[in-house]
Every structure is written in structure tokens, then in C-alpha cells.
Symmetry: C2
Subunit: 216 residues, 2 copies
């Protein structure tokens, strides 16, 4: 009797989680197109090809659904970023190059993802939970950048020529530049020239650290 119940549950979990994932994907797509305030359970259900009741069945409250969507996107960003940093293997120069690649990777910086990210920023002031989730991502990634810049400044192969550089300020400028490009993705959508953007980001680094980021 116990065995029967267990097996039945295992099957259901698989089906349920497939549906759950479909709803989450649909939610992100709907937020991207209609913004947070324009996102209705009805629209999400249609996009996921389920009934409205199913959406609530899986997430209890619309609010929880939106939070789950935010969590999903933030986790994707974090995973991609961490993978890139690990691939750089502790070399700060490679790490910065990898961050540029990740940040402008078509999958990571898909216009839908970017739109959703800014949609949550827009509501962040009013909804503490959004702010916490978004803020923690930004804080962590910013601290990582600070360290990379500081490392290049102190151990760079320019014979101490970088001593007058301020790591914190330049790292902030770098994240700001990447964010700025994200805003441009939001504005121009699909036809945004990611290669040009990467060139600009590299030009930023080459301007500051000419030894390490020579213009090929």
C-alpha cells in the first residue's frame, strides 16, 4: 500500500513540474510583453496553454508566481556569471573578458530577460521582496568586480603605472556600462548589435588597462 502511494506520487511530480516550468516560462514571456501590471493570470494561462485555475493551483497566489519568475531569472544570471568566472580560473583579465561575453550573451541578455529584470526594478521600491532579490544579485556581482579591478591594478604588468587608479570607481563604471547596454537592448530589442557593444566594453577596459587589454 505504501509502495503504491509512493509510485503514484513520483509520476505526478514529474508531470506537475513540467507544467510548473511551462507556466514559469510563460510568465516571463508575458511580463516581457505586458510589463508587471499588465500581466494577468488569464494571459499567463493562455501562454502556457493551461486553465487559469492551474496557474493558481501551482503557485497559490499571483504574487508568488511573479516572485518565482524573478527568482528564476536571477538564478539564471548567477549561474551564467559564476560559470564564466570559474572558466577564467582566477585570472582577472580573463574574468573581465568573460563577464563581457556573459553579459551580452544572446541567451542571458535576451530582450525578454532584460525587460523582466527592469520590470522588477520598477516595482522594487514598493515590494521589499523584489528589492532584496535584485539588490543581493547586484551587490554580489559588484563586490566581485571590485576585487578583479583591484587585482589588476596591484598586480598588473605595467610596472606600477596603475597605482593612481581607483578600483571601486572604475569597477562601478564598468558595471554601469554593462547596465547601460542592457537598457539599450530594452530600447532596440532584437536588432541590437551585440558585437559592437562588446567592442565598446572591451574599449573601456583597454582605455584603463592598455597593457592587459590591448586592442588586439
Amino acid at each position: 500500500m505504501q509502495a503504491v502511494t509512493d509510485l503514484a506520487q513520483r509520476r505526478n511530480e514529474a508531470l506537475a513540474s513540467r507544467t510548473r516550468a511551462a507556466i514559469l516560462r510563460a510568465t516571463i514571456a508575458v511580463i516581457a510583453r505586458h510589463s508587471l501590471s499588465g500581466t494577468t493570470v488569464q494571459l499567463v494561462a493562455e501562454a502556457a496553454k493551461v486553465a487559469p485555475g492551474t496557474v493558481i493551483l501551482h503557485f497559490q497566489k499571483k504574487d508568488a508566481l511573479l516572485l518565482a519568475a524573478l527568482e528564476q531569472i536571477a538564478a539564471e544570471f548567477e549561474t551564467a556569471r559564476r560559470a564564466a568566472l570559474e572558466a577564467a580560473g582566477g585570472d582577472p583579465v580573463k574574468a573581465l573578458e568573460a563577464i563581457i561575453e556573459v553579459s551580452l550573451d544572446p541567451k542571458v541578455s535576451d530582450p525578454a530577460n532584460v525587460a523582466v529584470w527592469y520590470a522588477f526594478w520598477g516595482e522594487a521600491k514598493a515590494r521589499k521582496l523584489y528589492l532584496e532579490r535584485i539588490g543581493s544579485y547586484d551587490t554580489v556581482s559588484q563586490e566581485g568586480l571590485d576585487r578583479l579591478f583591484a587585482e589588476i591594478i596591484s598586480k598588473g604588468n605595467s610596472g606600477g603605472g596603475y597605482r593612481h587608479l581607483n578600483a571601486e570607481a572604475l569597477a562601478m563604471g564598468f558595471s554601469g556600462l554593462l547596465e547601460w547596454q542592457w537598457q539599450e537592448i530594452l530600447v532596440s530589442g532584437r536588432n541590437y548589435d551585440r558585437e559592437a557593444a562588446k567592442q565598446t566594453a572591451r574599449a573601456y577596459l583597454a582605455s584603463i588597462f592598455p597593457q592587459e587589454f590591448a586592442p588586439h
Copy 2:
């Protein structure tokens, strides 16, 4: 008869425009606290101490009200920025210093203003009108910055030592840095240390143009 009507209208316009201004101020305050989706005509009316009907009487549609609020804020930003640039009198070094001051002026970067600005960014993808208004502000100010950086690079007093610098990338880093600080205002609110932020922005410029922005 005509004169009477004219006089009556003149008085009414004064009263009406006072009410209108109060509603706009209230709208900005409500958006800042409740975000766009949480902003209701009811809340705005309460904050402005008028009846809900009065809000609609003046702006016809809630949508028009929100757009008017955006327009108001964008215009404030533009005015402040233009005044700062004029005060710099064509000197790009002074101009950049002035932009830092303006951008972190407690009145311009009041947490409410910042929150409203990001609230509209969050809806921008879904509402073309918001995107146009916000985007045009950002584009114009960005182009101005590009020119300032290019000027310092070409005419700077470092004897050509700036030739390898990329104006566009560094200008984008600079606006990005200022935007990043705005996001931090959004997160930390009233107790944000504006002086420290200004120091960081100046440190950015001093890192790039040590001759022009020596650490006092």
C-alpha cells in the same frame, strides 16, 4: 460680456492650475511609494486632498496623469542638467564636475524622483510612450557626455597622453556609474551618502584624466 467671461476664466485658470499642480505632485509621491501598478486614482486624490473625480476632471484618463508625471520629472532633470552645463561655460572639465553635482543633488536625485524614474523604466517595454520619453532623455544626455569626453581627450593638457582613450566607452562608463549610484539611492533611500558618491564619481574621472581631475 466678453470681458466678464475673460476675467472669470483667468481666475479659474489660476485656481485650476494650482489644483492641477497639487495633483501632479501627489501623483509623483504616490508612484514613489506604491509603484506604478499600485498607484490608484483614489490614492492620488487622497494625497492631493481632492475628490477622485477631480483627478479625472483635470487629466481625463489615469494614463494621461501618469504620462504628465513622467513629463514633469523628465523636464526637471533636463532643466537642471542644462543649467549646470551652461554654468560650466563650455569647459568640459567644469561640465563633468557640474554633472556630478547635479546628478547627486538632493533635490534632483530625491529618492522619490529616482523611484518614479525607475518605475517608468519598468513599464517602458510595454508602453511605447514611456519608452520614447525616457529614451530621448537618455540619448541626449549620453551624446552630450560623449562630446565632453572626446574634447578632454583631444585637447587635454597631458601632451597627447590620452590618445589611446576611447571617449564613447568612457562616457558610457561614466553615465553608467551615475545610474548605478541612483540605483543605490533607490535601495538605501534617505540615508544614502551623497558626498561619498560624489567622491567616487570624481575618483572615476581622476583615474582616467589624472591631469584634469587631480585629487585636489
